[in-house]
């Protein structure tokens, strides 16, 4: 793990994937440098998983240029797959094999065999806190343990790039934090990580840089804090049970705001200073002043409408 920091791990230019008439990924550009941890956010159907499947050489791009570890993804899939780790959204552990055997058999696909494979498996079982379960069957594991085993398996070849598609979806908070802690350790050891998530706190916690996608395109890109500052500001006032009066209040004052059917959200740099006035106007019990967060950015940029899968 001693590549120079400017090393380009992923480079995508005009990357596209179409299914018939559907543009799942519609010309995206992005780059990932060595030792970065980058997150891709987006509503369902935004194109995150399709992008990941192209990066992991599972799907061939329909157009554009995609280089992973300096090699063309269509031309050198075996090379790329040998040096990356992939943890897909859906657990696909081998139910015919025990926990330790899952790792050993997977190692063999990378030509890691014998004592080296066993040693690597033991090491990863310890790292992921699964050693006590080494002889267990897959259906005896909890959801969190399966997820940890998936991540352990994706590390079996000491990947230069780790790709995680929704690594903690559906897990309890304890399991999530356990996984976050392991990912932090991998980051500090220099592994480049690319992940997708629906959890904004996860993105803010783990990722140095984020890409928000929607409708197959990149909507915005930047560090989590910068995105919040640029698009929302430092704080947000939430007014509940807000009617037209609330909307007029925001409009008359020329505030950056969003009005939903039940709430008024006041964004912008001056939100905090407006707090006393908002309380006078709507009553303290209906107002909340809080820090702006990534979810505000996400909803502002991708809208509140539900998406089809």
């Amino acid at each position: 793990m001693t590549q120079p920091a400017h090393d380009k791990i992923i480079s995508a230019r005009g990357l596209r994937k179409t299914y018939g008439g559907l543009k799942a990924v519609d010309g995206i550009d992005f780059a990932v440098q060595a030792q970065e941890c980058i997150g891709i956010l987006g509503p369902n159907g935004a194109g995150k998983t399709t992008t990941i499947k192209m990066l992991s050489c599972f799907l061939e791009p329909s157009g554009g240029i995609l280089e992973v570890l300096g090699r063309d993804a269509s031309a050198a899939p075996r090379f790329i797959k040998r040096h990356i780790g992939v943890c897909p959204q859906e657990d696909n552990l081998d139910p015919d094999l025990s926990v330790a055997e899952n790792l050993r058999v997977f190692a063999r696909y990378f030509d890691i065999v014998g004592g080296e494979a066993r040693g690597r498996a033991e090491e990863l079982l310890h790292f992921m806190g699964l050693h006590a379960k080494r002889a267990a069957r897959i259906d005896e594991l909890s959801g969190g343990m399966k997820r940890r085993l998936m991540i352990a398996r994706s590390l079996i070849n000491r990947p230069r790039l780790l790709i995680l598609d929704e690594p903690t979806t559906g897990l309890d908070p304890q399991s999530r934090h356990q996984i976050w802690e392991r990912l932090h350790r991998l980051k500090s050891e220099g592994t480049t990580i690319l992940l997708t998530t629906h959890y904004m706190d996860e993105a803010a916690h783990l990722c140095g840089r984020l890409i928000i996608m929607d409708h197959g395109k990149v909507v915005v890109e930047g560090a989590p804090k910068d995105l919040v500052r640029e698009h929302i500001g430092a704080s947000v006032i939430e007014v509940s049970a807000a009617g037209d009066g609330a909307r007029r209040f925001a409009e008359e004052k020329g505030l950056l705001h969003e009005k939903t059917s039940t709430h008024l959200y006041i964004h912008g740099a001056e939100a905090a200073s407006l707090w006393p006035e908002a309380v006078r106007q709507f009553g303290e019990e209906r107002c909340i002043l809080r820090m702006a967060n990534l979810e505000d950015v996400f909803l502002k940029l991708t809208g509140r409408a539900l998406r089809d899968e």
């Binding site: 299914y19 992991s56 599972f58 799907l59 061939e60 899939p77 075996r78 797959k81 040998r82 780790g85 992939v86 897909p88 859906e90 696909n92 552990l93 081998d94 139910p95 015919d96 094999l97 055997e101 058999v105 997977f106 063999r108 696909y109 990378f110 030509d111 994706s154 070849n157």
Partner: protein, 264 residues
């Protein structure tokens, strides 16, 4: 173009898939051995001892052959077909569709071509195992000479490739696992009944003989019986070449179909 891409993506790494399946098989080998061991015993008991007491000797290539000796090679051939075909249909489908094992393997240096090649080679291995167990019983029973049984083993693997390849073609297109009932009832069962396992095809009317002579299992029954009874002629050699051709074509079609199914 598709053919070139498929050839380029085939490699020795298919062996890794075979190893995975063999590892799983070994864990439960005691259970895995029981069906192929019981199956021939039941058949030999039912058809040989039960039905055989009613049936007189069968005329085969101008010689009178006891009924049990006549059907034993046919039952070996049937076991070879069944174990290859069922491995790459039901078992491969479970691995692909329910267990997502193929998808998991695709995130390693293996290609889908490697995975399918490995699965078909594994199916052929299951055919070989089943054929070997059946042959051991037939040899012990005194129905097939040992030397002939040894000569049949490579044929079992070759035919295993053909029937596993055939199975994989169906696996590439079925929507769900229940749909395998169609090839089983429209294809496997009729072959079992009309490929000369239980009676010489010459007993059939002319048109039916032509039909039966085109069935892959007919090729195999004829070749295995030829070896078992010391009547292996050029016809049987051509039938083995026919099985080889089926293996090659079906493996290609199976891979192409699976690529279409999985890598859209």
């Amino acid at each position: 173009m598709i053919m070139k891409a498929i050839l380029k993506n085939c490699s020795w790494r298919a062996w890794r898939v075979w190893q995975r399946n063999f590892d799983v098989y070994r864990q439960t080998w005691k259970i895995n051995f029981i069906p192929p061991l019981l199956e021939p015993l039941l058949y030999l008991l039912a058809f040989g001892v039960g039905l055989g007491s009613l049936v007189k000797d069968v005329q085969f290539e101008g010689a009178a052959v006891p009924y049990l000796t006549f059907i034993a090679p046919g039952l070996v051939a049937t076991a070879i077909m069944n174990h290859g075909f069922f491995e790459t249909t039901y078992a491969s489908f479970v691995r692909m569709y329910y267990q997502k094992t193929f998808a998991a393997i695709l995130s390693t240096p293996l290609s889908l071509e490697d995975v399918i090649l490995g699965e078909i080679a594994w199916g052929a291995t299951k055919s070989l195992f089943a054929g070997a167990i059946m042959l051991a019983i037939a040899v012990a029973w005194g129905l097939i000479p040992l030397a002939a049984a040894l000569a049949i083993l490579p044929v079992a693997f070759l035919a295993g490739l053909a029937f596993s390849g055939l199975g994989m073609c169906f696996t590439a297109v079925v929507k769900n696992i229940e749909m395998f009932n169609f090839p089983v009832f429209l294809f496997i069962t009729p072959m079992f009944l009309f490929s000369g396992v239980f009676f010489p095809l010459t007993s059939l009317p002319g048109w039916a003989q032509h039909l039966a002579n085109a069935l892959p299992l007919t090729f195999l029954v004829s070749a295995v019986r030829g070896l078992a009874l010391g009547k292996f002629h050029s016809l049987q050699a051509f039938q083995l070449i026919g099985l080889l051709a089926i293996a090659v074509v079906c493996t290609y079609l199976g891979i192409a179909g699976m690529k279409k199914r999985m890598l859209r």
